[in-house]
């Protein structure tokens, strides 16, 4: 099937990179790379809502939490596959986590998508907080104690391959949707909802579709996060986490897939890279520098790193011209 050609190639490339990284970098950098993978999924999926469809969601962490808790609960309570096929079992639970988060995305999306701009942001923020407080009060998932002992993948190689698989799935899904009539429907909603509706686009259904697809991959990101940290509790899915996802989308450039990926990597690596600074000065300035660079970024380069161009266009525009 021709359709699987380039995704397979991309996956192979990533796996080779994984093998290279497995031997060249120590566990600390590897953990950061895994978190970067989770953040890539988060920013690509949110880019669908904030970037392509122009709807402003501040509740992405809520869906991530649902995905994380579903797969954590599933992999600690039920396990059907023999230990050799463990990865298949994780794939099924991660898929389940995505579907559950997608259902939540539908339930959240339906009522709130009539609202515009700031109001939608606030309602999605509200849902994110409600999800977090609900998890805090659910004892069967550990409430504030959280869920610990979530099985990981044992080796970095498996974790990286699993994350790459999902990143490839997410990238190609969104890329292909955006290069189809459905994707153009999302863009029309961003450009001018009234004109889109007059031209026969059911804008509400488009927004819900974008919301559901985006929360699916947020759920998947949550599931990966649970497997990588082996312990989750409600306080890792706060409003700040949603803000982080939004920052990645804006920093990368609204409506740019590769931009979101690059921004996700930068935002995961930046705080860790600044850590030696904390050892030197003895005072932790990381967040101070991070927030300051955020403000400067918005002033110096409001369109984000890539604007709405993809890596290929940036390459053609900046590099080719100078060569």
């Amino acid at each position: 099937m021709k359709a699987f050609k380039n995704p397979a190639l991309a996956l192979l490339g990533l796996c080779l990179l994984g093998v290279a990284l497995n031997f060249s970098v120590n566990a600390y950098i590897q953990l950061i790379l895994l978190f970067a993978g989770v953040n890539c999924l988060l920013s690509m999926s949110l880019n669908l809502v904030n970037g392509y469809t122009g709807q402003f969601s501040l509740g992405h962490a809520g869906f991530m939490a649902i995905g994380a808790y579903f797969s954590a609960y599933a992999s600690t309570r039920w396990s059907f596959a023999p230990s050799s096929l463990l990865v298949v079992q994780y794939f099924v639970f991660t898929l389940g986590a995505g579907l559950v988060a997608a259902v939540a995305g539908f339930l959240v999306g339906l009522p709130s998508l009539r609202l515009k701009g700031d109001y939608l942001a606030i309602v999605t923020l509200g849902f994110g907080e409600i999800i977090r407080v609900a998890l805090l009060n659910m004892d069967f998932v550990g409430g504030p104690r959280g869920l610990s002992g979530i099985p990981g993948f044992g080796s970095f190689l498996w974790s990286f391959a699993f994350a790459s698989l999902w990143i490839v799935i997410c990238f190609f899904t969104i890329w292909r949707v955006m290069h189809s009539s459905h994707g153009r429907g999302f863009l029309s909603v961003r450009e001018d909802e009234i004109a889109a509706e007059a031209m026969g686009i059911n804008t509400t259904r488009m927004k819900v579709k974008a919301f559901v697809l985006s929360s699916f991959f947020a759920g998947v990101a949550g599931a990966l996060f649970a497997h990588f940290t082996n312990f989750i509790n409600p306080s890792s899915f706060t409003f700040l986490q949603s803000v982080n996802a939004v920052i990645m989308v804006v920093l990368g450039g609204m409506g740019s897939m590769t931009g979101s990926i690059v921004a996700a990597i930068i935002i995961t690596v930046l705080p860790e890279a600044l850590r030696p600074l904390q050892e030197l000065t003895g005072v932790d300035l990381r967040m101070v520098i991070y927030s300051l660079s955020l403000v400067l970024m918005m002033i110096l380069r409001p369109k984000g790193l890539f604007g709405d161009m993809e890596l290929s266009d940036v390459w053609r525009k900046y590099v080719r011209r100078s060569a």
Partner: protein, 373 residues
């Protein structure tokens, strides 16, 4: 100008890396130096540094100096996890002194366990922490014991029949203590008339306290942190609730009285150690701590101090610096004369030690009784 800025952003990641001197034993520590529970992190860190300075002054261990690398977890679980991994793989520490909050310890301990690096938590009292594996230890008692202490004290010493509970639902430390207290208190024939909750960071508790007032309990158990307890005490007195208030080691800080003022006076809480103890080791520790930091050490500082001392003693006894050797020595800790009392580690690597009950009396902490397990 723009490209310069973007380039700067990209070059930063290459900054990480560190130097490792030869004649040193590196111990790692992660703590919340910023974020919501920064005050606990800071006091623990002071205790640890005081202990290590003393040891280095006395010639260090195995002829080598001990150097401490402290990283901040900002009060977040993922940060604790990445800080621990960094300490192990980047700074190649021989052992790790964990933070205070149980949530952080549960995120970090499994990582130390998987890398075979001994992990000693000075103050995480939640039972699950040491379940992460045989490399994970702690030098403080666990919630089930601390909850029992206050339940026993309430029913036997204060003769309380009807008690109310006000727990901080955001922290598993508080929920753990509240559950144990509730069970133990009922076992002793007591009645829990109300069990309400708040979230760390709240400032208004009048609604919960009015509800509790309507059940007129004889005492209220508030196993939260002093940051909220001071305000709760004030608002309870404002609502005419004059009954005694009880709590756990989360109360232990000078700021408790500063915020609560006379509303907090006369109330009780369980703690690891008392500054009034006549034990020379304790008075010595307080004198040195005041000399170095010009403030009286709270329980967390004392626990940080003991944790560092116990760890270094184990390293001293261990034949080599491998994780396994230090772990085996740590497990053999028996009746260690700690500042927070005699510490011996049992088979699940928790500390079996007595707790003290303290009464708030202005700025000093009046010793009431000791309750042994």
């Amino acid at each position: 100008m723009k490209n310069l800025f973007v380039a700067l952003l990209l070059v930063l990641p290459l900054l990480s890396g560190c130097t490792k001197k030869e004649n040193e034993i590196v111990i790692g520590e992660y703590d919340s130096l910023t974020g919501s529970d920064a005050t606990f992190g800071l006091s623990t860190n002071k205790g640890v540094r005081l202990a290590l300075d003393e040891i280095n002054a006395a010639g260090g261990v195995k002829g080598k100096k001990i150097s401490l690398v402290t990283l901040d977890d900002q009060g977040k679980n993922e940060e604790a996890a990445s800080a621990t991994t960094r300490l192990i793989t980047q700074n190649n520490v021989v052992a790790i002194l964990g933070g205070v909050a149980s949530g952080r310890s549960k995120a970090a301990a499994p990582i130390a366990q998987s890398h075979g690096v001994p992990f000693v938590s000075p103050a995480s009292t939640n039972p699950d922490v040491t379940k992460a594996g045989d490399y994970v230890f702690r030098v403080c008692f666990i919630d089930p014991f601390q909850g029992l202490v206050m339940a026993k004290f309430a029913s036997e010493n204060l003769k309380v029949k009807k008690a109310a509970i006000l727990r901080d639902v955001k922290n598993d430390y508080s929920v753990g203590l509240a559950d144990v207290f509730s069970a133990e208190f009922k076992k002793r024939g007591g009645e829990i008339v109300a069990d309400l909750s708040y979230q760390a960071g709240d400032i208004d508790f009048k609604a919960q306290l009015t509800q509790i007032r309507s059940k007129n309990p004889d005492a209220i158990y508030i196993p939260g942190y002093y940051t909220e307890v001071g305000l709760i005490a004030q608002q309870a007195r404002q609502l005419g609730l004059k009954v005694p208030l009880m709590g756990g080691d989360g109360w232990d800080s000078d700021k408790l009285y500063e915020i609560g003022k006379d509303a907090i006076n006369g109330n009780y809480y369980s703690n690891h150690y008392t500054t009034e103890s006549t034990d020379p080791a304790v008075t010595e520790f307080i004198k040195k701590f005041k000399a170095k930091y010009s403030e009286t050490p709270d329980a967390l500082a004392a626990l940080g101090y003991d944790a560092a001392k116990i760890l270094v003693a184990a390293i001293e006894r261990a034949p080599d610096l491998s994780g396994k050797a230090i772990r085996d020595e740590l497990a053999k800790t028996k009746d260690f004369p700690g500042v927070t009392g005699k510490i011996s580690l049992n088979e699940n690597r928790d500390a079996v030690k007595s707790a003290v009950v303290i009464q708030v009396d202005g700025n000093n902490r009046k010793f009431i009784t000791t309750i042994t397990p």
